[in-house]
């Protein structure tokens, strides 16, 4: 096991693509330490790692983002938000967080949201004089709201594996989502003060109105998505395809989307998508080898043998999950770990809804922790920022997220209050 870990780190340092680091480590582990028969199934595992309906949202929202950029939609959205709140210090960074909050009430997956918003926000922030790494890390962190503010794929999967009410889980996510948003807003205010983040000049009322009318068709994209999902016309995953369609139409209305741009848009989307999905495929192979050897199970059992205090237990879990989240996909980790932890909750007197919110936020944060974080990869590939640079820039945001997580751990009422109001 230790040798496999060393090989893993060595390969990373040698600049081997991270997807291959995962694949090679898995193969080496199988060949030298594991059950050699696993090799015969390895290709099948790569395949089924991406055979997932939920993943469809990634390329399609990426495509929608590309189309919105080329079609001038993004530019107008940003111009408008800037006209309204851009004259505060760090205005565009706030625009970013607020826009993510709205998007989170539509989208249930952090990765889809990071993909979409990185494409849109990072170039605009850079144009306004923000540092690229700061822009990408603001975007990636704010997109963490995706699976915390309902709807949420992660909450649904938790509810199903833990036999909890999905509706209650959704309600429980509201305050944590708002807290996280406030935390990011506070952080941006602080960074804005320390680093003199850009301010745009205050626009005249006339210019605000002009940019408002120019943005109206562009607002069709979020508006149609919200109406369509709430009205039962399409599912959140399908909304990604609808977003592409509206972006095509609006781009044509603005007369900015040119037919000759399309091939380039398609190739770019493919490259951004595959960077992520190939990694998911390899991570799936890696997680499978670990599961087969019952390593996560053994770790969890060892952990629970350490303490009798619920708070220490939750803190241990937080640390454990942050570590698991650095190398494993959130959904896979949920499926493996929830059944292991569930029987222990009554022993510690922990509410399963409280536990669910903590475990989901934990694994969502894991998307942004290096060395393996799907969210970081997406933001770094789409936002075109070096991985290490982004990993560094994201640290303050991670600290804020972890503080919020600890608050939620110590004060269960923050999670359980809204569900108790509704459920009586």
């Amino acid at each position: 096991m230790l040798i496999a870990l060393l090989i893993f780190i060595l390969l990373l340092l040698l600049k081997v693509p991270i997807a291959f680091v995962l694949g090679i480590t898995s193969i080496i582990y199988i060949v030298f330490f594991g059950n050699i028969g696993l090799l015969a199934t390895a290709p099948q595992r790569l395949y089924s790692g991406i055979e997932s309906y939920g993943l469809l949202a990634i390329p399609l929202f990426m495509l929608a983002g590309e189309l919105m950029n080329s079609g001038g939609i993004t530019r107008r959205l940003i111009t408008f938000s800037k006209a309204v709140i851009g004259h505060y210090r760090g205005g565009l960074a706030y625009v970013n967080v607020v826009a993510n909050m709205f998007l989170a009430s539509i989208i249930g997956s952090a990765t889809a949201q990071i993909a979409m918003m990185s494409r849109v926000m990072v170039p605009s922030m850079e144009k306004e004089g923000y540092d690229r790494a700061f822009s990408a890390s603001t975007t990636a962190s704010a997109a963490l709201l995706g699976p915390i503010i309902p709807p949420s794929m992660l909450f649904i999967i938790y509810s199903v594996t833990a036999s909890q009410s999905i509706g209650t889980m959704f309600l429980a996510g509201i305050i944590p989502g708002v807290l996280l948003m406030l935390g990011f807003v506070g952080l941006i205010a602080f960074i804005g003060y320390k680093q003199n983040l850009p301010v745009s000049k205050k626009e005249s009322f006339k210019n605000v109105m002009i940019s408002f009318f120019q943005v109206l068709p562009a607002l069709l994209v979020p508006a149609i998505i919200i109406i369509g999902i709430l009205g039962g016309i399409f599912t959140p995953t399908e909304s990604a395809a609808i977003a592409c369609f509206i972006a095509l139409v609006v781009g044509a209305i603005y007369r900015e989307l040119k037919f000759k741009d399309i091939p380039n848009i398609l190739v770019n989307t493919t490259l951004s998508t595959a960077t992520v999905t190939l990694l998911i495929a390899m991570a799936n192979l890696f997680g499978w080898v670990l599961t087969f050897e019952q390593i996560p199970q053994a770790l969890a059992q060892w952990m629970t043998s350490l303490t009798e205090s619920p708070i220490i237990f939750l803190l241990l879990i937080t640390i454990f999950l942050l570590i698991v989240g650095t190398v494993m996909d959130g959904i896979a980790a949920l499926i493996i770990l929830v059944p292991i932890f569930m029987p222990l909750l009554p022993l510690y007197g922990i509410d399963p809804i409280h536990f669910g919110v903590i475990i989901c936020i934990n694994l969502t944060i894991g998307l942004l922790t290096p060395p393996v974080g799907a969210g970081l990869f997406i933001a770094s590939s789409i936002g075109d920022v070096k991985f290490e640079k982004l990993s560094k820039a994201i640290l303050p945001f991670l600290v804020v997220s972890i503080i919020v997580l600890l608050l939620l751990t110590f004060i269960p009422d923050l999670v359980l209050w809204i569900p108790s109001l509704v459920n009586g």
Binding site: N35, G37, E51, S163, S165, F234, P236, F292, I336
Partner: protein, 320 residues
């Protein structure tokens, strides 16, 4: 210590007591730890240990931890996993005969479906499924399928016209639902909750266990107990594993499995009662559907189509 792997088929240790070889088998299935199939697997594990005096133990991987059902089959075929409970829905894409279980309104209730696994037709299904690398041993039944709707219970197919119903994407199930005049909509299970809530779909073809564990009663309140289809899984064993066992050990495995599956069906029957009780407490509007003749013309079309397969034809003849 993390680096050592438990031997499955090839590598096995001689037991101290010298009664025979020791084995740690692996079993995998798609459902969660609270599901009947998992409990059946646990029972199988207990029986194996008891009958072999502790020489045989079973590691269980629930919730698709080792991958999709396609992956499971491959791992069983290559001998890295020894056992699996694989859904009939998945296996019917590989072997036509298994569609027999999906003939609509053929089995009145769970007990009737379970009784049918003793027929020569059911034995034929197991035989059709077995090949050089795996062997199909038995069927384990989840609850029968019913209809949950957001806007009223069903008294005849007329009320299904144009309704978007989530169904499992298996051809025979699809064919039945197309014939009813509903709009069968394939959709992954995690999407169902929000889709029912927002109205993307109007209802779902589902068993009571899944209804309860996915909390769908929170958002859809009209349940028609139709029993319109059975929903088994097949207990599969790796041929490699089986060939590596002695006659006596094979007998132990078979006996343990038979006991577990028999226990499982009793457990499932009790679950149906408990689930219904629970759903009533949740305030669901539940009706027993007994106007089965209303579906006769629909059933006839499906029966006709699948009767090309001799085994399915004779099971239809026997139970119609």
């Amino acid at each position: 210590a993390c680096g050592s792997s438990e031997g499955t088929t090839g590598e096995s240790n001689t037991e101290a007591a010298g009664e025979g070889e020791s084995y740690t088998f692996k079993l995998t299935h798609i459902t969660g730890p609270s599901h009947n199939w998992h409990q059946t697997a646990e029972k199988f594990s207990e029986e194996l240990e008891a009958l072999s005096n502790g020489r045989m133990t079973l590691e269980i991987f629930p919730s698709g931890q080792l991958g999709s059902e396609g992956d499971m089959i491959q791992q069983i075929e290559t001998g890295t996993v020894d056992f699996g409970f694989i859904t009939n829905a998945y296996l019917s894409t590989r072997v036509d005969t298994l569609n027999g279980w999906f003939m609509p309104f053929l089995f009145e209730d769970l007990e009737a479906a379970n009784a049918a696994k003793g027929t020569p037709e059911a034995k034929q299904m197991l035989e059709d499924l077995s090949n050089d690398s795996m062997i199909a041993l038995d069927f384990a039944f989840a609850g029968n399928r019913h209809i949950l709707m957001t806007d009223g219970t069903i008294s005849s197919p007329d009320e299904l016209q144009g309704k978007r119903i989530r169904v499992i994407g298996s051809p025979a199930i699809q064919d039945f639902w197309v014939e009813t005049g509903a709009s069968p909509t394939p959709m992954p299970l995690p999407e169902v909750y929000t889709s029912l809530q927002t109205g993307v779909i109007d209802g779902i073809d589902i068993d009571l266990d899944a209804l309860v564990s996915n909390a769908l009663y929170e958002i859809a309140h009209d349940l028609t107990l139709t029993n319109h289809m059975a929903f088994p899984s097949v207990a599969i064993m790796s041929r490699q594993t089986r060939d590596s066992l002695s006659e006596e050990d094979i007998a132990i495995v078979d006996e343990a499995l038979a006991t577990a599956i028999e226990w499982g069906i009793q457990d499932q029957i009790q679950r149906e009662i408990d689930n219904l009780e629970y759903l009533k407490e949740q305030g669901l509007n539940i009706i027993d559907f007994n106007n089965t003749n209303a579906f006769d013309s629909i059933n006839a079309v499906v029966y006709e189509k699948y009767s090309e397969n001799e085994t399915i034809r004779s099971i239809i003849e026997a139970y119609k």
